[in-house]
Symmetry: D2
Subunit: 142 residues, 4 copies
C-alpha cells in the first residue's frame, strides 16, 4: 500500500489575491481535494461515505505552514497521507509541492471527528477502518 497519495490542481485566478500570490485560506481547499482523492485511491469516495453510510468527516482542527507562495497558473501536487486513523478520529497530513520545480510550498494537517448527519460523533464503519489501517501503519514508519 502506498503511503502518500497524490493529485494535482492548477491555481485559478480566483484563488490569487492582490499581493500576486494565492490567498492563504485556499490551501485548506486544496487539502480537502487531497484527502478526497486519497479516499478515491483507497477504493471508495467521500460522497458514498456520506450518502450510503451517513459518515461525515468533520474538521476539528486545521493547520498550515506556508513556506513559499503559490502563484497563478502553477501546477501544484498535493501529497496526502493518513497520519492517524482511530475509530472516531482521523488525522491527515499534507504537502503542497510546485510540480514544475519540486519546491515545497506548504505543509499542513487536519484532524477530523467522524459524525453522523446530525453532527453526533460515531465510529468509523469497519469497512473503512480496514482500508485506513494499513495506510496508517505504513505511514507510522516515518
Amino acid at each position: 500500500m502506498k503511503e502518500v497519495y497524490e493529485t494535482t490542481v492548477r491555481v485559478r485566478y480566483a484563488e490569487t489575491d492582490q499581493f500576486g500570490v494565492v490567498y492563504y485560506a485556499n490551501f485548506f481547499v486544496w487539502f480537502e481535494v487531497g484527502r478526497v482523492e486519497l479516499l478515491r485511491q483507497l477504493g471508495f469516495t467521500y460522497k458514498q461515505m456520506e450518502l450510503e453510510d451517513d459518515c461525515h468527516i468533520v474538521v476539528a482542527e486545521a493547520h498550515c505552514r506556508y513556506l513559499r507562495p503559490a502563484r497563478y497558473d502553477d501546477l501544484l501536487r498535493i501529497r496526502t497521507r493518513i497520519a492517524e486513523a482511530r475509530s472516531r478520529t482521523l488525522r491527515f497530513a499534507y504537502e503542497i509541492v510546485n510540480d514544475a520545480t519540486g519546491e515545497s510550498l506548504a505543509t499542513g494537517e487536519t484532524t477530523h471527528v467522524v459524525c453522523d448527519r446530525d453532527g453526533h460523533p460515531r465510529s468509523l464503519p469497519a469497512k473503512y477502518r480496514k482500508l485506513f489501517a494499513p495506510a496508517h501503519s505504513a505511514s507510522t514508519v516515518h
Copy 2:
C-alpha cells in the same frame, strides 16, 4: 414601502485577485447578501423561509455588468430591489455602489424559481407573496 433596500459590505482581501481588483464572481456573492438583507428588511429571513416553509429561492439566471473595479477595503453599498414577483418566480435587480464616491461599480439581475427542498418548483406561500407584491408594484413604476 421602500423600493430599494440597502446594505453595505467591506471588500475583503480574500475577494481581490492578482490584477489588484475584486474577482468578478464575488459580485454574485454580494448580490446574495443584498437579497438576503432585502428579505430581512421586509420582516422575515431567508433562513426561516427555508426552515419553516420549505421554500428555497433557486437561481435560474444571473447577470452582471461591470462598470468600474471594486478594490480592497472599499465600503460598498448594495442596492437591491424586487424587479418581478410572481407565484413561482422572483427577479431581483442590484446595483453595487462605492459608498465613499457614490460611483456605480456594477449592476445585475438574478432570476429565481421557488422550490421545495427536493428542488421541485412550488408556489410562494401567500404570506411572502403579500410582502413581495407591494415592493414589486412600487418597483414597476421605474
Copy 3:
C-alpha cells in the same frame, strides 16, 4: 481548428452550499478555468499574456443560465468557445456538462475588454488576434 475547447473539473466540497448543490457564483470560476484552458490549447497561456505583453482580459459582463444543479464530486466538462474576437473586446461562450450523464447543467457568456495593467483599454497584440481570428471564424458558422 477546433471550435469548442474542453477541460474538466471535479466539484469540490468547498463549492457546495447548504441546499446540497453548487453555489451559483462558482460557475463563473469554472468559466474562468474554461477560458484559461482554451488559451492554453491555442498555444499560449493567460499568464504569459499578462506578464509578457501587459495584456489583461478584464470582465465587462457575465451571464449564466442554470439548467440543472451541479453536485459534490461530479466530474464536469467545461466547453468553451470564442463567441467574438475584436481588437479591443472578446466574448467567450460556455457550457457546463455533467461528464457522466452528458446533461447540460449551465450555459453562459462573458464579455471582456482588453486592458493594460492600469486598466486602460488597449488593442489585442497581433499575435493573439491571429490565433483568435480563425477560432472565431469557425465559431461564427453556428
Copy 4:
C-alpha cells in the same frame, strides 16, 4: 488600550457547504476580517500599510480549532488580539463567537512575516511598532 478588538460578520449562503454548516476554510477569511478591523481600530488601515509603506503582512502559519459549527445567517463576533509583535513578525489570536448565544465556535492563530512588495522580509516601520507594542503588552498579561 483595549486588548481584544471586535467586529461582526453575518454568515453568507456562499460560505455554507452541503453538510449544512460553514465550510472550514472560511474561518480563515474571517480571521483576516478580524485582523484588518483590529488595525483600523488602532488608527490605520492595512490598505495604507501596503500602499503608503510597502509593508505587507504575509501569512507564515495558520491554525484553527473548530469547537461548534457556524451556520447560515448566524451573526458572528470576531474577537482578535495581537499575541506577539516583533520587528519582523506578528502573531494574531482569534476567537469566533456566536453573537446571539455567546458560544465560542472556533479559536485560532496566524503568524505573519513583514515583507515588502517583492516578498522580502523587512522591519515593521516604527509608527506601527509603536501602536502594536502597547496592544501587545496589554495582551501579554493574560
